[in-house]
Symmetry: C2
């Protein structure tokens, strides 16, 4: 079974020989090859230079022979497209120097043509398809609510006080911004499929900041609106706090549910019926002994069952992850055979 068929089948609930495997942030600092590239270019230069972005996208494919690539980028480019530049500083993370807090701030946002404003990721996807035609590539974007968090707070946060204050105090303004983000995210994901992505993943990383009522009022409609604009390839929804919205996450319109490492695979399967799932090994399991990693991988594959499972971590791989741990995970998935 080739990689295109294996990934495509798993994303659609069709038979596979074994689950396909890729993992979030698979092109990242835990790889020497990646660190070597990053010693020459900044994170944002890398994102904005398709040739180099393609090079690092290939690195984990070449090193581990993963069943899919994920295009090298970040969840935040949509922010610069709507008029808010962001920075990425070592040890600090993302910063939006001019966060959006007031009605005047909101009025300064623009509705871009994504093909002009965000050309790099589709170009990287096209380059990758020529460079590694045997391997399917996935696209991605941040979900509207998660982008809204950074846009309004201006940086990462534990509490997301400012974005949540806007929901509470200026709900209509918040809904307007979320709607704009949804449209741009949708167009951006579609541009990645048009460039040849075999699927797209939307990261609603900070879903867990919200109560259920607020998620349903603000974040969910925006996620639905984004996904409604996307056709032609499977849509994966991921949240780091999926457990708290698991019973409603299907409503996003996703085809595949990405499970974080805390979400119990068997319970998720029962709740989601025959919806394909992705996940969900704890990234920190990769710091353990190879045998333990293998056991955990097999437990997850068994719990997920033979149809509609893409093996992945339950969150991005950590920069200090031992590469031997990644090797053990990949080997265990590849050794699996469904009858």
């Amino acid at each position: 079974m080739d990689k295109h068929e294996r990934l495509g089948n798993a994303l659609r609930g069709l038979p596979v020989d074994r689950p396909p495997v890729w993992f979030m942030r698979q092109a990242g600092r835990y790889m020497t090859e990646y660190r070597e590239v990053r010693s020459r270019v900044s994170f944002l230069e890398l994102c904005h230079t398709p040739e180099i972005a393609c090079e690092v996208t290939c690195q984990p494919v070449d090193r581990f022979d993963t069943d899919a690539a994920i295009v090298f980028s970040d969840i935040l480019p949509v922010l610069s497209a709507i008029g808010r530049e962001f920075t990425m500083e070592k040890g600090i993370g993302p910063r939006v120097p001019e966060p959006v807090r007031t009605e005047a701030d909101v009025k300064s946002l623009v509705r871009p043509d994504v093909s002009e404003a965000l050309p790099w990721v589709p170009e990287t996807i096209q380059l990758f398809r020529k460079a590694r035609p045997d391997t399917p590539i996935l696209g991605f974007a941040g979900a509207p609510w998660t982008l809204f968090c950074y846009l309004v707070e201006g940086k990462g946060s534990k509490d997301w006080l400012e974005p949540k204050k806007m929901l509470m105090c200026e709900p209509h303004l918040a809904e307007h911004v979320l709607g704009l983000l949804a449209d741009v995210v949708g167009d951006y994901l579609q541009s990645q499929i048009d460039a040849g992505a075999a699927g797209v993943q939307m990261f609603d990383t900070w879903a867990g900041a919200l109560s259920r009522a607020d998620y349903e009022r603000f974040a969910l409609p925006a996620a639905i609106r984004a996904f409604e604009r996307v056709k032609g390839a499977p849509k994966i929804f991921y949240s780091k706090d999926l457990s708290s919205i698991l019973t409603i996450a299907k409503k996003t319109g996703a085809d595949v549910m990405g499970l974080d490492w805390r979400t119990d695979m068997r319970e998720a399967r029962e709740l989601l019926g025959d919806m394909p799932v992705q996940g969900n090994l704890d990234p920190i399991a990769l710091y353990g002994p190879p045998d333990t990693i293998g056991d955990k991988v097999r437990d997850i594959i068994r719990a997920a069952g033979p149809r509609g499972h893409v093996f992945n971590l339950g969150h991005g791989v950590l920069p200090t992850t031992p590469i031997e741990g990644v090797d053990a995970m990949i080997a265990a998935v590849k050794a699996w055979r469904w009858d």
Copy 2:
């Protein structure tokens, strides 16, 4: 209905006129009275001086006429009792200068007599009962897994890499430490009930760091072991990430389930049957307009229903919370009447 009856009934699923209300960290920096005291003494001096701890425990009772007090303390004193001092620095949070990582480290831990090692909280409870006899007081402690996190990492963390590495690489050592913590936590909670606490809450704040499999293997048995030692008053279990363990949290042996703000009240009620619950307003709702706060409070009370609900926030109140928001929450709960 007096406060003792209202809280006692709610914790036991018996009829109440309205839900009792208290809230996590109700004695805290959002109050001027508290900040005034803290300008004179450090956090740990405050914890270790029952007269002053009693004074700040009284502050929210006097200011808001809450239906319960929670004894002023921290989740970490158990660490110093087993042989690891910790510090609390402004803007840094807890630090354990000598974290426990190796077998030698583990051997240096001690099994204390809690009445000698941790006298302050029971004393504070006794002082409070004399000072405010009309108001019941709750005791608390960190859960074994959450204490293990700080003990092994040595500080707060997003990933809890070191404690999770110990589970992965030295599971028997980890189980030994968790067992010690469980016994001391259990004795410590019991000492608070013996001093007159009307109930005790165990905070498994970092439950969400673990996969379900690891929670069930390591954290849950330790939580059970701690609660097994506790008799004579209702036991409340709280986790900031309850959603991910909601279907198994009853196994802790808790009498009452504390819901974080992301856990949907109606779904929790369906899952937990007639088990009393506590919660779960989003603390950041208190930054909103009074009408919105009132609506959210009433939505939660309606979703929880007439029996077995203690109104609370879904997490600790934030230091910058406007006191008017707290007033609006308290007023909305107190205005409610069940027929």
